[in-house]
């Protein structure tokens, strides 16, 4: 007989995948239940800590800044209707009512890949019942590039990067997909030539080539891909179709592509929804703006966080029913009419597919958990007249649809159909100005605080986002600054110790912004955090020195402070 009466702690450990981006990093999540220690969390969650999954074939235990702080980003969502907390069943009932009360044309379903393949497929079954496809947010891009889409598939592994002779980078790995860095380090050690095409010089590159966002790759002589080249770029809702088309036109059929994705299961969701007629982000947003859309259901996809335009919060109010099915308390939960709270990602069971096309199982390392997310979707389907879903069956169906290997140490790519002939279409695609409405020739609109300088047109630059896991997930980091070149600092009359005021044509001015001098092209300013003055991927702004001294540094409030 044990003398133990009341153990103070109970610990569960889950083997999961970081939800920060589509890299697919393996991680253990520890959940400590206790009455003994004050959790110090603002959201009443148990104490969470990550542990490093050193056997993961993707990251071997290593994590980026987002992953290291993953435990702090798990504020659980709370089921609610019109802001009032309710039981999950009530939230489900309200969702069903909303769906029954709307025509198919008034409903949109969005799942960008923020959850497992199994939940995505269950969501698709609801879509089938309603006659509404589940959108992944990438349709607009793929429609633009037409048959070239076939070249953006999976199958290039991170190990292929390590053994490549030549690597062309169209992403900033340090910021956007940090776990790529070590793969590039290994490639460089083995003698790879690494060419970075973009605005910022990267230390990992053996050659940095300045390529502005609207430069045609046909005009870049350094871009000479061959059979030994691995091209690393990414597919996001903001990918510029013309650039993507040029990449494929020039390199398709001879080089390997590794397309990174910003959302945990964007690859899996993309493949599962491949043959459905989806709505693009733009379609959904404009239907929301016009009031045509009455019900939007977002499955672990926070449209407000993903959207660079922070007016999206207001746009949500045009919906009769904004419904969020979410494993975390994100921005959209605060404005949704209905929130169906599901178990956190680390407690989910099933699989996700990373950018390589690797199917990664998510399994609780200790103890089973109820699959509230999956069964909430099943309950909605049943209430709409469908049959209840069986997890094992849906899992098997997802694996089969993905044509994937269930062993995370092996990547199986379904046999490739003959690739379509590459026809040049990029010259017919709209250019940057037409794609991003805020993109225009520099104007000398001015910051009220710096009229004198502004009148001379100084400080006019283009603002670009350096997308990263914090930005996509609406999580604040210590990245509240803009980056510009030394020359740009001069022309904006910035001084060390002072801050900058940034203004845009829409009239938004952000005062006292910190800045960093980076080795990068003149005429641009970059930021990693969503900025009020930049509502599109590329925006004209004016950067000028703030007349006042900087404020105290901002303190980032965390939900759950990891050890």
């Amino acid at each position: 007989m044990s003398d133990i009466i009341d153990p103070k702690f109970k610990e569960n450990v889950y083997s999961t995948v970081c939800h920060g981006c589509g890299f697919g990093c393996g991680v253990f999540m520890r959940e400590l239940e206790t009455q003994a220690v004050e959790t110090g969390t603002s959201c009443g969650a148990p104490i969470l800590n990550i542990d490093y999954r050193k056997a993961s074939p993707v990251n071997q235990g290593k994590l980026c800044r987002f992953g290291v702080n993953l435990a702090g980003n798990y504020c659980p969502a709370v089921s609610s209707v019109k802001g009032k907390s309710v039981s999950t069943d009530e939230a489900i009932a309200k969702t069903v009512d909303a769906l029954k009360g709307a025509k198919a044309s008034e409903i949109a379903l969005l799942s960008v890949g923020g959850t497992t393949n199994e939940e995505h497929l269950a969501f698709m079954k609801i879509g089938e019942k309603l006659g509404v496809p589940v959108s992944t947010g990438m349709t607009g891009l793929f429609k633009d590039i037409g048959k070239l889409h076939a070249y953006t598939g999976r199958g290039t592994t991170y190990e292929d990067v390590e053994t490549a002779k030549k690597i062309y980078l169209f992403v900033d790995p340090y910021v956007s997909y940090p776990l790529l860095v070590r793969r590039l380090v290994h490639a460089k050690e083995k003698g790879a030539e690494i060419v970075a095409f973009g605005l910022k010089e990267l230390p990992i590159a053996t050659q940095n080539v300045t390529v502005e966002p609207d430069t045609s790759l046909y005009d870049v002589k350094e871009f000479a891909p061959d059979a030994d080249t691995v091209i690393i770029s990414d597919l996001t809702p903001y990918t510029y179709a013309k650039r993507l088309a040029e990449l494929v036109e020039i390199a398709g059929g001879k080089s390997k592509f590794l397309f990174m994705r910003p959302f945990m299961n964007a690859t899996g969701a993309g493949y599962l929804s491949k043959h459905t007629k989806q709505q693009s982000f733009d379609d959904i947003v404009s239907k929301m703006e016009s009031g045509e859309l009455k019900v939007l259901i977002c499955l672990d996809s926070d449209l407000i966080d993903i959207c660079l335009n922070d007016n999206m919060k207001e746009t949500f109010k045009n919906l009769e029913n904004a419904i969020v099915i979410s494993s975390r308390d994100t921005t959209a939960c605060s404005v949704a009419d209905v929130v169906i709270a599901t178990e956190p990602i680390y407690k989910k069971k099933g699989s996700v597919m990373n950018a390589e096309g690797r199917l990664i199982p998510i399994t609780a390392a200790a103890g089973d958990t109820p699959l509230t997310g999956f069964y909430a979707l099943s309950a909605i389907l049943e209430a709409l007249g469908g049959s209840a879903l069986d997890f094992t069956g849906v899992h098997a169906e997802a694996v089969q649809m993905l044509g994937a290997n269930e062993d995370e140490y092996k990547i199986t790519v379904p046999e490739k159909k003959p690739q379509p002939e590459i026809k040049k279409i990029s010259d017919k695609l709209p250019d940057l100005k037409a794609v991003f409405s805020d993109f225009a020739e520099p104007k000398s609109f001015v910051s009220s605080s710096s009229k004198a300088d502004g009148e001379s047109g100084a400080g006019a630059v283009k603002h670009l986002y350096l997308t990263n896991p914090f930005l996509w997930n609406g999580v604040l980091d210590n990245d509240n600054y803009i980056e510009l070149s030394r020359c740009q600092v001069k022309s904006s009359a910035l001084l060390k110790g002072f801050t900058a005021d940034v203004s845009c044509a829409c009239g938004e001015i952000t005062k006292a912004t910190r800045f960093k001098v980076s080795p990068m092209a003149d005429g641009y300013v970059l930021s990693m955090r969503k900025q009020p003055f930049a509502k599109a991927p590329i925006t004209d702004v004016v950067v000028l020195r703030s007349p006042t001294k900087p404020n105290e540094p901002e303190i980032v409030k965390e939900c759950n402070v990891p050890q």
């Binding site: 044990s2 003398d3 610990e11 400590l32 056997a55 860095v181 290994h186 210590n478 050890q563």
Partner: protein, 425 residues
């Protein structure tokens, strides 16, 4: 399966085999001991009284028995066990269920847990028993010196350690070097300087550790130059070094390092969990001999790694650090780091600064000079694969060698704590 037992040293003479042909000396002298016979400083050979634990545990299951006894008799509220999900992967989990202790994983050279930071989350609010490697215990002691871990609340069983391996790497080596399906591996052992994998068909597959390490496929680099192989800094120092053929695979050598260690051992005997006998002189000598061989090998590697680094310039150092992505993982996992959110390395490091070399790292190099335990956790988790452990040791070695200060081995005050401002002035 038993609790984690001691890994045998790479390159060391095999446990239980004497160097000469004369009949091997016995491991023990005298009869089975009573609890009251156990003394601090005593050296014993012990084993579990439970058949199934003896069978499952590679070295007689002594460690499992001590942990189970401590939990069942209420000496501690919790035990940290290893939950094994494959031959290559296990994760430490807290339990109060003795069945979990009996069921926990066996010897795993590829398990590199970080109990120091793990223990911090309990805020000294529970009594916990756990098995540790020497470097784990060094981290725990450094935290204790900084008032973050209360040694009165924990009980530690130190395990001899000849080195650990990275789980993913060894999985790959299994496939590519051994030509064996990694999922077919049932057990692994280090013997006669070879890493031996036993597959489900009963076959043994061996490769020389030296050869594996030439290709960087063996032990983690920091393990190869580690200076503590027997965890004499824990309450009990256990392992199979010194176990002679009569007890090979059936007994564990244990040295009692603290009064608490003696108490837990007495509890295991009196509670009917374990039996012990006094270790013979030749057994103790054999243990010392293995240890000194291991230490000589470490000293050699230390020279090979660090002598060339003496000519490293600031430019070289800058180059080493240029791919840092600022994730902070190295600090998060660092066992002696006790600074929390007030850390100088982060407070003085501003991402908008453009210093030629990261202040974060410069402060940490300085800060770790008197506290780095050489565990290699920083290198393990670095997403840019910066050889951080090597860089920290480059700065720590000269200071720790000069002051003859081995971090985390005793209660000695860290050298930086002893500096008096007036002396500096």
């Amino acid at each position: 399966m038993s609790a984690p037992e001691n890994p045998a040293p790479a390159g060391a003479p095999p446990a239980g085999k004497p160097p000469e042909k004369k009949p091997p000396a016995p491991s023990t002298v005298g009869d089975v001991l009573k609890g009251s016979d156990i003394q601090v400083g005593g050296k014993y050979i012990g084993w579990s009284v439970r058949d199934e634990v003896r069978k499952e545990g590679g070295s007689g299951g002594l460690v499992t028995s001590i942990l189970a006894g401590a939990l069942e008799k209420g000496l501690v509220e919790h035990v940290v066990v290893l939950k094994k999900s494959s031959q290559y992967e296990a994760v430490p989990v807290l339990t109060s269920d003795v069945e979990d202790v009996y069921a926990s994983a066996g010897s795993m050279h590829m398990l590199i847990s970080n109990p120091t930071k793990y223990l911090r989350q309990f805020q000294n609010d529970a009594t916990i028993a756990l098995a540790v490697k020497p470097c784990d215990m060094r981290g725990i002691r450094e935290q204790q010196k900084r008032n973050m871990i209360d040694l009165d609340k924990i009980f530690t069983i130190g395990l001899n350690c000849g080195g650990t391996m990275m789980p993913y790497k060894i999985r790959k080596v299994t496939e590519e070097v051994y030509g064996v399906n990694p999922d077919d591996v049932r057990a692994e052992e280090i013997e006669k300087g070879k890493l031996i994998l036993e597959t489900t068909d009963g076959e043994h597959h061996a490769q020389s550790i030296d050869e594996l390490e030439e290709e960087d496929n063996g032990r983690r680099e920091n393990c190869r130059y580690c200076v503590v192989k027997i965890a004499t800094n824990a309450d009990l120092a256990c392992g199979n070094w010194g176990v002679m053929p009569d007890y090979a695979g059936k007994g564990t050598f244990v040295e009692v390092m603290t009064e608490k260690g003696a108490e837990f051992l007495r509890n295991a005997i009196d509670g009917g969990y374990a039996e012990l006998k006094v270790a013979s002189e030749p057994a103790a000598e054999a243990r010392g001999k293995v240890n000194s061989i291991m230490l000589k090998m470490s000293a050699k590697t230390k020279e090979e790694v660090f002598v060339p680094m003496q000519s490293q310039t600031m430019t070289d150092l800058k180059k080493e650090l240029e791919n840092c992505i600022g994730c902070g993982a190295c600090r998060t996992v660092c066992p002696p780091c006790a600074c929390g959110t007030e850390a100088k390395c982060t407070a003085f490091n501003d991402p908008v600064d453009n210093y030629d070399i990261s202040l974060f790292h410069m402060i940490r190099f300085l800060h770790l000079m008197d506290s780095c335990v050489g565990c290699g956790q920083c290198s393990d988790v670095c997403p840019a694969d910066i050889p951080l452990a090597r860089l920290y040791r480059k700065f720590a070695n000269p200071m720790q060698d000069e002051l003859n200060y081995v971090t985390g081995m005793d209660d000695r005050t860290p050298p930086f704590f002893e500096i008096k401002l007036e002396e500096v002035q």
